[in-house]
């Protein structure tokens, strides 16, 4: 299949996945709205849990389960698309809840609906279109774009399940020894598609920045009866396919062989060292990507800097394989060779890989933050009275800091489980555990794989939870004057 055809297939697939994903995000959102606050925490946990199961594990397990589907390509395509959908919806639901509020108040919408039957001006197509843009599109377009980009860039599951995708095509070209310069030529088409979508989101957000918002609860939506039912069915399916099945298949073997892995000093030390490297890369590049997104897309930043930020997002949109090959080529020139074989190329690779994702998260946060409340919290934080300042810090943490912490954790998580960038750019003695796991999967070392997987998964998860109160404390103490300035 030619690259153009494969690109067409990838676009069509991503389109279907993203549109279905948006509908599911709306359904899940209405389910969350209906749920009591005590249960909604667990509901959130259930919705977001697929994000915590690495792509390579899901792909590996399903590649074993779907061998019979080789004779039914349409069914195999359906299974792959469903898996991608279940992997991207959690990211979509986060964005859906953080995205801008509709510009149409509930009252205005009620009036439109009442008046539309009377043949008034408000029932004309142009007026309906305006309502659609300000009420619906404003909320779903950024979510749709994110889901589209995530589905379009997917590589590891496509490779493991042997699906047609432009990312796999590029990989084959590289494996066949095509020079990097030629690969860049192949990338023009896919990159253009991604760039158009990203530019569309930025354009929409820019337009919306200049329009007024109404104070209203963003979450409450009038939902049809079927939606929660559909959301419930989806949740059950996603939990079963992406969490339970891989955990059952790997978990049992993992527990059985955990003892032998713990007793194998060489393997244990190797695993711990690789976990440490993975965590190091993940934490530093997650923080750096978030910081860069903050610098480039701060609301007071000039258009030129924002444009510069957009340009910096382009390498990350090329996909991890091409990005790492280009970076490797750059560090193999006379000027860059002294840094080759150090963690610098891999860190740069990860930061560039994360930047578009960080920008997305950043833009959503920016839209969500209530400026007046934040300003008051900052003022309180600057108070001479220590107790008031501490309370201000606490408020800042609740309104601002906590979300940033989890954003960095999600970014770090994406890095921690990445295989392609690590395997190409990481220094010889600084490989990550994900690379070792990938090798074990290939050679069917299921029991050892399960145990190492368990260890590799538990370490960052525990660290994320343990670090939360520490970061909270530091945040409250060091919330600075500089952040106040952007409101003045």
């Amino acid at each position: 299949m030619s690259l153009t055809t494969i690109c067409g297939v990838s676009v069509l697939r991503s389109l279907i996945i993203s549109l279905t994903g948006v509908y599911l995000c709306q359904s899940l959102s209405s389910l969350i709205d209906r749920t009591e606050s005590r249960i909604s925490f667990f509901l959130w946990l259930l919705i977001l849990a697929p994000l915590l199961v690495p792509e390579l594990i899901v792909g590996y397990i399903w590649s074993l389960l779907t061998t019979q589907l080789i004779h039914y390509p349409a069914l195999a395509e359906f299974v792959y698309s469903m898996l991608v959908l279940m992997r991207v919806v959690p990211a979509g639901i986060i964005c859906y809840h953080m995205t801008v509020r509709p510009q149409i108040s509930a009252e205005a919408d009620f009036i439109r609906q009442s008046a539309s039957t009377a043949g008034t001006a408000i029932s004309r197509f142009s007026a309906q279109w305006n309502f659609f843009i300000r009420k619906t599109l404003v909320r779903i377009f950024p979510v749709w774009s994110l889901l589209f980009l995530l589905a379009f860039q997917e590589f590891e599951m496509a490779s493991l399940l042997y699906m047609n995708s432009w990312t796999v095509w590029i990989f084959d070209a590289q494996a066949g020894g095509v020079p990097v310069s030629e690969t860049l030529g192949y990338l023009v088409g896919p990159l253009l598609i991604e760039f158009v979508i990203l530019a569309g989101v930025l354009y929409l957000l820019r337009i919306l920045e200049q329009r007024p918002f109404y104070l209203q609860s963003p979450g409450r939506t009038v939902s049809r009866r079927l939606r929660p039912l559909l959301a419930g069915c989806y949740l059950a399916l996603a939990t079963g396919c992406v969490i339970l099945l891989p955990l059952v298949m790997l978990g049992w073997g993992g527990l059985l062989s955990l003892k032998s892995v713990l007793q194998n000093r060489l393997q244990m030390m190797g695993t711990l060292e690789e976990c440490a490297w993975g965590l190091g890369y993940a934490a530093t590049s997650g923080i750096a990507a978030w910081g860069l997104a903050t610098i480039f897309f701060n609301r007071n930043q000039s258009g030129f800097v924002k444009f510069l930020g957009l340009v910096c997002c382009v390498p990350g949109l090329c996909g991890s394989l091409t990005l790492s090959l280009v970076i490797a080529s750059l560090f193999l020139t006379r000027e860059g060779a002294w840094l080759y074989g150090t963690p610098v190329p891999v860190m740069i690779g990860f930061v560039l890989y994360l930047l578009p994702r960080a920008v997305f998260l950043k833009l959503f946060f920016q839209r969500r933050n209530a400026d007046d409340a934040l300003f008051l919290a900052h003022l309180m934080n600057q108070s001479n009275c220590p107790q008031q300042a501490e309370n201000g810090g606490r408020l800042l943490w609740l309104t601002h800091g906590r979300m940033q912490y989890w954003a960095v954790v999600v970014l770090a998580f994406w890095v921690y489980w990445d295989v392609t960038i690590s395997s190409i750019l990481a220094p010889h003695s600084g490989m990550t555990s994900a690379v070792r796991l990938y090798g074990l999967m290939h050679y069917g070392q299921t029991s050892v794989l399960s145990a190492i997987c368990l260890i590799s998964f538990c370490i960052p998860a525990l660290l994320g939870i343990i670090l939360l109160p520490v970061v909270r404390k530091l945040w409250i103490r060091f919330s600075s004057q500089s952040e106040l300035n952007q409101f003045v």
Partner: protein, 333 residues
């Protein structure tokens, strides 16, 4: 936030200096499974006191990953010794002038069919290219294979020949048949619906699960299925009555600053001790040099006659290039 970025930059700089100071270790690029090769490299470290810094290949980059990496790094070589899991890719590196010659004691114990006459690379511990069949639905004999391959092939699987040992297989066919016949044969397979998959392990999975009845794979993948208790059997693929033995290969990279340590590792890898260990590992590699065959497992011993009957690999670089160019035009339109 800026403070944290600064912290990250400082940390990065620290690591740069740390890695720049670490230049005494022997850098080994290893395409053989890390599960088996890591232990052997550790043993070498313990025996000689030479520190080894391995870089393993992954399925994510296939075996061509490290070969291409060595080509990309030719102006700034990082690797001292290349332990490849096949030989033709290494031979292609010699063609580009990227290997140094070394004919130590290990070189002498390997038969001529599996080594470069100039000593730029040496093969050891081989895999065999085999037909793999599901014993529940297929009786694996050469007659049955011939009948099956003459009909519809939607129950037969092969890995994409752009990389790995399937590329070596195709290069051998190109040598034996000529490119035109190879092209005709592969097009015929495709027209009759052969299932082309991502790799040899996928072929093994398809056959072991019963999704396909027959496939082309290597002995190491076949033994993974055997160890998992799956219903499979294997039969060597023969071309012109010769078996396709795909050895590991080892070579010293041109420009190495640690030549003595590199030679020590090459000698160690080409020793009978390592060949025996690889034959006893889960991947059951077939020893090519002289070893005590009593210590070799039975399921490897049965392949011993094929060492004499193997297709010679020492002069197939041109065929590999021809095949790869054709396959690129097929797959990368």
């Amino acid at each position: 936030m800026l403070a944290l970025i600064e912290f990250a930059v400082i940390l990065m700089l620290g690591l740069v200096f740390y890695f720049q100071n670490q230049d005494e270790a022997l850098v080994v690029y290893c395409a053989h499974d890390s599960v088996f090769s890591e232990k052997i490299l550790k043993q070498f470290e313990q025996q000689t006191g030479i520190k080894v810094e391995p870089r393993f290949d992954t399925e994510a980059t296939k075996s061509l990953g490290l070969t291409n990496l060595i080509i990309r790094e030719k102006d700034h070589p990082q690797c001292d010794v290349f332990w490849n899991n096949q030989a033709l890719g290494t031979a292609a590196l010699k063609d580009q002038g990227l290997l140094e010659s070394y004919q130590g004691p290990g070189y002498d114990r390997i038969p001529a069919a599996f080594k470069d006459p100039d000593g730029c690379w040496t093969g050891f511990a081989a895999r065999l290219r085999v037909y793999i069949a599901n014993t529940e639905s297929y009786s694996l004999t050469y007659e049955n294979v011939e009948t099956t391959l003459a009909g519809q092939l939607n129950q037969v699987a092969i890995a994409k020949p752009l990389y790995g040992t399937t590329l070596s297989h195709f290069a051998i066919l190109c040598d034996a048949w000529g490119l035109d016949r190879l092209q005709e044969w592969y097009h015929s397979l495709q027209e009759r619906g052969i299932q082309v998959t991502s790799g040899n392990s996928s072929v093994k999975n398809l056959v072991a699960s019963g999704a396909c009845i027959l496939g082309y794979t290597d002995t190491d993948d076949y033994f993974v299925a055997v160890d998992a208790g799956q219903p499979v059997s294997a039969l060597p693929v023969l071309v012109e009555e010769k078996a396709l033995l795909i050895p590991n290969s080892v070579a010293i990279i041109k420009g190495t600053k640690r030549r003595k340590q590199a030679e020590a590792l090459v000698d160690y890898l080409l020793s009978a001790e390592v060949e025996l260990e690889l034959s006893q590992s889960q991947s059951r590699q077939i020893p090519l040099g002289t070893v005590n065959w009593d210590l070799v497992p039975d399921d490897v011993q049965k392949y011993r006659p094929y060492i004499q009957q193997a297709y010679p690999l020492s002069d197939l670089v041109q065929q590999r290039k021809l095949t790869l160019d054709w396959l690129k035009s097929e797959y990368l339109k």
